[in-house]
Symmetry: C2
Subunit: 266 residues, 2 copies
């Protein structure tokens, strides 16, 4: 399919990327609604094949939208963009440890000019469809970041890369869970249907109120916690696999593209 | 999803792989019906990242089902298999030229022990659904190989790899074209919906009766030629890009896995 963004969406997304480039940062759920957001992981060229293979073997958490090759910094999904500056907040990883969070990653690219950047699909893509169907997104309503959790589910390894799956969680009213499954299932190339509905303990999540990334959720009476595979999964792989260097976005602070979410509907 | 193969299907597929291993060869459309078949491209490790990236950038013709890493020869999609022997007919490529066709590729792996093998989805997967819906598959009826064509549509390049898209063609009655689109569209991870319906000239196909691969088609009154992206596309990339060495299957002579086609339904 080829779906066109509206002029308003394009104005919104360019303003958002320009603001990030100028140094501002906030979670991006709901920003430039209807345009696809992406997770970032950038690794030295020597790790690029294994990263792409890890994504291929774990397509639910790691759907690859684009690979920006060594020496390139502009995304084809966002003409005029610069992947080093147009995300609100970056994480710099050294030997699997989070070394610092920065608003501008140009110094990281200067240090490692051979970085290959992977844009990974984000569950914010199907939030648009959920909202349109009258299913409220709690973290948007509260102005918070989506809650994300490391799980006890191992991803399929690839070379030196291994790690557990990370999931995002949205509380969904029991009578809308089936709708949420079907709506998100229409974007199989961007996480697709949930990996788990209810029962956090069997995912290895001991306490829903203490997410590993993002903000605490608010579960109300009659709501079920619904879990989707999350594009922060590569960050768990960094922690477990300890590549010498990597750059990612900070969870919830996404790269926003010019591509409508509807492009990924089947 | 996790869909189980039947005992009969598993008996059929093991017999087929054993026959190929023993040296026999025939086009595999309709063999072990309901189990997923795959295209093969194997390249030296130095070309593996670009091959995987080419597939990621051209997912309709090159949906990756599995990557068999350097030093491995067994597919996880077919326990007990050997990718060097279990296809009926292999093509050996040198500097982009077809050097020979062989029934056994062990000598190729001996010559290049660093080969990385890619299994790419095959349109035979959705033929099962078409047959179940009462849409006849002409090449199966005639006991021929499916017709395949090089097109004037360029794939997105990746590093040293470039080339045009290859398509397979099935004649479909005009009143079943929409059904064929919808049925194949349910397997977006395995070529999915057609890339083109009717009008071969606008795909750069001058003469339908002379396919570039496979056997000539038989188009009957009231039938429309319907074109799907084809997993022979990597062979066109080999011809255009001239890697020093590569191994593929011969078009139509596929690797048959133990995985039910239904596994790829969304």
């Amino acid at each position: 399919m080829s779906v066109l963004a509206t002029a308003q969406q394009l104005a919104d997304v360019r303003a958002a990327r320009a603001a990030h480039r100028a140094g501002s940062a906030a979670p991006t759920s709901g920003v430039a609604a209807g345009l696809t957001q992406a997770n970032l992981i950038a690794v030295p060229a020597d790790w690029a094949f294994e990263t792409l293979l890890y994504a291929q073997r774990n397509p639910k958490p790691c759907p690859v939208l684009e690979v920006i090759e060594e020496g390139q910094v502009e995304s084809v999904l966002a003409p005029g963009s610069d992947i080093r500056t147009d995300i609100g907040r970056y994480r710099i990883w050294r030997d699997g440890e989070l070394a610092e969070e920065v608003a501008d990653a140009r110094a990281a690219w200067d240090e490692h000019p051979d970085l290959v950047a992977f844009l990974i699909g984000c569950s914010f893509t199907f939030e648009t469809g959920l909202v349109q169907a009258g299913i409220p997104i709690r973290h948007q309503e509260l102005g918070r970041n989506v809650p994300m959790y490391r799980t006890s589910v191992d991803c399929v390894p690839a070379g030196r890369l291994r790690g557990e799956m990370v999931v995002s969680m949205r509380p969904i009213a029991a009578d809308r869970v089936a709708d949420a499954v079907q709506i998100s299932g229409r974007t199989p190339a961007v996480h697709g249907a949930p990996v788990h509905v209810g029962d956090p303990a069997s995912l290895g999540i001991a306490d829903l109120s203490r997410p590993d990334f993002g903000d605490a959720p608010e579960l109300r009476d009659g709501e079920i916690p619904v879990f989707w595979a999350c594009g922060v999964t590569p960050q768990a792989a960094i922690m477990a696999s300890k590549p010498p260097f990597a750059v990612t976005h900070a969870p919830g602070y996404m790269f926003i593209t010019d591509v409508p979410d509807a492009e990924f509907l089947v």
